[in-house]
Amino acid sequence: MAELVRDAPRRQELDGTRRRLADRDGFLAWIFLVPTVVYIIVLVAIPFFLAIAFAFSDVTAGNPSYDWVGLENFSRVFDDPVFWQALRNTFVFTAISMVLIVVFGKVLAMVLVADFRGKWLVRFLVLLPWTTPVALSSITWLWLLHSIYSPIDWVLRNVGLIEDNSYFLGKPALAMGSVIAVHVWRLVPLAAVIMMVGILSIPDDLIEASRIDGAGFWRRLFEITIPLTFPLIAVAALFGAIFTFTDMAVVYVLTGGGPTNSTHVLASWSFVRGIGGGDIGQGAVIALFLFPLLLAAAILILRSVRKMETI
């Protein structure tokens, strides 16, 4: 504070106009916000409406001129059974991953806030799945689930549980399970860090008081920690859901949508149609189906955050 007082006289010598502008909150508020708003309008809002417009057009990679074709893209997309499979997969992957991410994330969050020997190393190892670019960790999983050299198969074979290899990525059910496993593995650390913030913000004396009153671990967990951090648990759950819902890297690298298109999700199917096949109209229609659920998720997140702010 001493510095501020020392600087004050020099400040007063500032040029009048600049001084007045730098003091007008309304002017500053605009000047600070305009670059971001312009940037977002140009590169998010306009592309968003452009995506909607593309859904009703015959734009292709080869012929980018815009012609209105009405609902033709929609009917072509709906006629393709792969689209319905991708839609179903997107919801199934998201729902299962979300539940598992919350459960494991909660456990991990409690480990991360605890005090123990070697916690620096544990934290480092636990964060690896989230901080590694997802395409790269998916390659490691591709190798872990390899049809011939999978170490998981090797262990199962040597324990005597299986005779032949499992071909994780060659059978539809196992391939879907593998995609979900990679999503959960990757997003649990993120959920844990979010929930950790919740646990850290519980006042220590509350936990202390309940401990003195004789509440054990499970009682404290279900009657104090979980109710008090519920908003952040909800945020973690919904972030996990959004990441799973909109991601295509895991499917693209791990299964490429296979075997026989059984693991495609909306994002990867949209990419295959729109960029791979060059049919931007169809790709846009498929991607558009991501939006209603995202809107619902956004409203849910916002409500839980609001609740959190009023506490």
């Binding site: 001084r19 500053l28 931007i280």
Partner: protein, 302 residues
Amino acid sequence: MAAPVASSEERPLADTARLRRHYAMRAVLGRVSLYLVAILAALACAVPFVWSTLTATKLNADLYNPNNNPFLYNKPPTADHVMFLFNNTAFTTFAWNTLWVGLLVVLITLVLGVPAAYSIARLNRPWSTPMGIAIFFVYLVPPSLLFLSLSRIVVAAGLQDSTWSLVLIYPTITVPVSTWLLIGFLKALPRDIEEQAMVDGYSRLGAMLHTILPLLFPGIVAVIVFAFTLTASEFIYALTFISPTQEKVVSTGVPTELIRGDVFFWQSLQAANIFVAVPIAFVFNLFLARFISGFTMGAVKG
């Protein structure tokens, strides 16, 4: 008369001893299960990377034998495949591209995000709250919804097949989430700080630069780390906009260039994974440790 008095004094003593034993047991059990869960969690998260490291340093004859124990070196380890990654592939180019794109995007994110967050969190305009909500909604518009139309915009801007397209587009991911984070950090700082500085003769702008910006430092660090991680992981835009090898980033270069048809350079692929994963996680962890200590010391209050 004497007997009941004696027993009533003895019972609490016995009870206390029993309770003390009970709590001591509980504490020991708690510690044991904590270590157990911590070790299990670390293993579950890190085993793929350990396996990656083993694979990267194995000889072909060792690796491609399904009967060899995959968790041991059955033949002496080799650094050949790691050398191959650095000398014979474009991996270093990818890594360099990821690094400079990441740093530029972080810079753009801060230049746009810090003033925007300050404007929304502190300058009390009637539109502050709706604007905050709008920015949050922007964060939820995913790349998988925008990549097709943005690919047309990138073509129109003449940036297709150039790494610069990512510098232009990535802030659409990082700016909204960073602004949102910074608003949270700013709301946690007491308003008296700037008001005091303004009483001392600073303009609003001066007060922000001299008092709020230093205090916002943990938030800025959080944004730097988070924005860089998001940028390094991004996949769909990088895959859509760029096809020449020299312009690719790690996230798309490694899966598309090191896998040629059915030929997988498995050892080099795994080495690439380790050389990217470990440094990022290391930096992230440094930040997390400071973040937690800030929390427990009460510096940031939620």
